[in-house]
């Protein structure tokens, strides 16, 4: 049995406390009036001056400079008010998505009846324990958006919809009630599978036949069907709809790749941590090697989808599509291309060599970069539509990351203490123990 070390527990509480502080400062610092918003931007110096000059010049030319300025200032206020919310949402979703990616990986291992991975099942089940608290927090943030506490989703504003023919056409799908019903169905399905599969997994340890194992196989296969559909729709709802005019048909896959690689990375990191503390004695370098292979492969898969999405839109150059990338390349140049370096170049070059995949600290270091890169991926997906060129990775963003990291560590490691780290009666456990590459 694993015991939650006090040092780690205290560390997770400190992370949460510092995070709450950062989030609080973020909300306090958000402006409540147009004047405050203008003062904040002016205080930042010339950084955003160019963008202003262009907008103002444009306004004068059109002959309604003053009205345009006022609406621009209003817009600025909304962006700055969105900032702490967007920071909170990005971090909340990012850590939730890690647990969800692990759940998909776990279900695939179950459905494929993989022989190498049963030793890691308890680690995966521990990480997916975060689905409940993480999912509830994401749901609450979405519900607050629907309740107009923030302006993360522009289509939730009836004022905007009233003047927007496209959004009126989409209102049958993109409306607050249906949005929350869908979110509840997705979260309910994922959590239900997680809890049921965990129950069967624990029951298998004590049972005298393989019936729990076989049932787990069947529900995992069925769950994967549900997951693929619900994950795809979730990515439209929770991420793509912040840009409600823009759509991409491979967006679900793209977000899936991000959550899958983040999840596998966290499995590897938690496993290596537990091993370094003397747990999981039967997990050998070949298991880490296999996880690192997945980290390497899915990183390339992510890049493939990232580029496919980009190239089709870049080549066809249709205004309503290409604006998505124009914003990102103009205002988010560093995080947008930086994430490609972190999510593609870095893991490809570091994990290409077969021997490096077996060096544990190497996997950890690469994993940290991959996780930071995929945080940036979600950041780049949410921020341009919610805060525009006012983005910054400052106190609210880092505070949110720290808070959810602490929460994640607390719930994951608490769940790990609840059951023996090694399944006893999994029919493939012997194969997993002798797994070698």
């Amino acid at each position: 049995m694993y015991t939650f070390s006090n040092r780690l527990k205290i560390a997770s509480f400190i992370l949460m406390a510092v995070g709450v502080l950062g989030i609080g400062i973020g909300f306090m610092a958000a402006p409540s009036t147009v004047e405050e918003a203008k003062a904040i931007v002016a205080g930042h110096g010339d950084g955003h001056g160019d963008a202003h000059a262009v907008t103002e010049g444009h306004g004068d030319e059109m002959g309604h400079g003053e009205a345009h300025d006022a609406s621009h200032d209003e817009h600025l206020l909304h962006q700055l008010q969105n900032k702490p919310w967007a920071a909170l949402y990005v971090a909340a979703f990012f850590f939730f998505m890690i647990a969800l990616g692990v759940l998909a990986f776990y279900a695939i291992q179950r459905a494929a009846q993989a022989g190498w991975s049963p030793l890691l099942f308890r680690v995966m089940e521990g990480i997916t324990a975060y689905l409940v608290p993480g999912g509830i927090i994401v749901f609450v943030i979405l519900a607050l958006s629907v309740a107009h506490m923030n302006h993360l989703f522009v289509w939730m504003d009836p004022e905007v919809v009233a003047h927007d023919k496209l959004l009126q056409g989409k209102a049958g799908f993109l409306n607050g009630t249906f949005f929350l019903i869908r979110a509840a169905v997705f979260l309910g399905g994922w959590i239900l599978y997680r809890e049921y599969s965990r129950k069967l997994s624990l029951a298998q340890d004590e049972s005298s036949d393989d019936s729990n194992f076989k049932l787990n196989f069947r529900i995992s296969a069925a769950f994967l069907v549900f997951y693929l559909i619900s994950e795809s729709m979730m990515s439209w709802d929770w991420i793509m709809s912040v840009d409600p005019h823009w759509f991409s048909t491979l967006f679900g896959w793209y977000i899936f790749a991000s959550m899958f690689v983040s999840g596998i990375t966290v499995i590897a990191m938690v496993t290596i941590y537990l091993k370094s503390r003397g747990y999981l004695p039967d997990v050998n370098d070949s298991h880490i090697h296999d996880l690192a292979k997945f980290m390497f492969g899915i990183s390339i898969f992510w890049t493939y989808l990232w580029f496919s999405q980009f190239m089709l839109i870049w080549y066809s150059n249709i205004p309503e599509e290409v604006t998505y990338y124009v914003t990102r390349i103009a205002d988010f140049n560093l995080p947008f291309f930086g994430m490609v370096a972190m999510n593609f170049l870095f893991p490809v070059l570091l994990l290409m060599n077969s021997d490096f995949k077996r060096v544990n600290w190497f996997v950890i270091m690469t994993g940290i970069v991959i996780l930071a890169g995929h945080y940036l991926d979600i950041f780049n997906a949410i921020m341009p539509a919610t805060v525009g060129d006012q983005w910054f990775i400052g106190i609210p963003e880092i505070g949110s990351i720290l808070f959810f990291a602490g929460l994640f560590i607390f719930f994951v490691f608490r769940a790990l203490t609840k059951a023996p780290l090694q399944p006893k009666r999994n029919p493939f456990i012997e194969e997993s123990k002798h797994f070698h590459y």
């Binding site: 580029f307 980009f310 190239m311 870049w314 080549y315 066809s316 150059n317 290409m352 060599n353 070698h436």
Partner: protein, 173 residues
């Protein structure tokens, strides 16, 4: 000088693996093992040096990437610039996204094909090459372990019988 070798036959890959480990433990040098199919882990058990084919594969991939970049630059930018989809080809950098699929494909193409060719050359395989395996049964259902004899014929024979060999022959090589 013709040398004498001992040929031990096995009809199961697990038995063969154990035999190889035993023979290695007894400090005999295994000349070669002939198998009808690749046996997982046999190279490690025999103590063969790790393959360097992955390194050649990386280098061939780099060659393929370079060829793709130079080739597309010549074809699309220098030799015959065209205006495709409102994107005139005057600058390599600005048209680069369109060439990425070609870079990817040629990297894979060069890495895969040149790696196979390297493997054939290194294994001295070419079309119409006469087979080197000493017994046709190694292409069907038998495994053959070849050990050179240095005046220790009886000792080897006992050891190999002990490891589960189904047949033992002594031949001149």
């Amino acid at each position: 000088m013709a040398s004498k070798v001992i040929h031990a036959f096995y009809n199961d890959d697990d038995v063969l693996m154990h035999a190889v480990k035993k023979v290695k433990a007894a400090k005999h040098h295994i000349e070669e093992v002939y198998c009808p199919f690749p046996v997982h882990g046999l190279d490690k058990a025999m103590g063969l040096a790790p393959t360097r084919i992955a390194i050649t594969s990386f280098m061939y991939g780099c060659v393929g990437l370079t060829v793709a970049i130079v080739m597309m630059n010549f074809i699309m930018i220098q030799d015959w610039p065209q205006d495709i989809g409102g994107k005139p080809s005057f600058s390599y950098l600005e048209n680069m996204p369109a060439f990425v699929p070609i870079m990817f494909e040629l990297t894979v193409f060069f890495a895969a094909h040149l790696m196979v060719i390297t493997f054939y050359l290194r294994s001295r395989l070419w079309p119409f090459k006469e087979a080197e395996n000493p017994d046709v049964r190694t292409t069907d259902d038998h495994f053959l372990m070849e050990i050179e004899i240095h005046g220790n014929e009886q000792e080897l024979r006992d050891l190999l019988m002990d490891t589960g060999a189904v047949e033992i022959n002594i031949t001149e090589k």
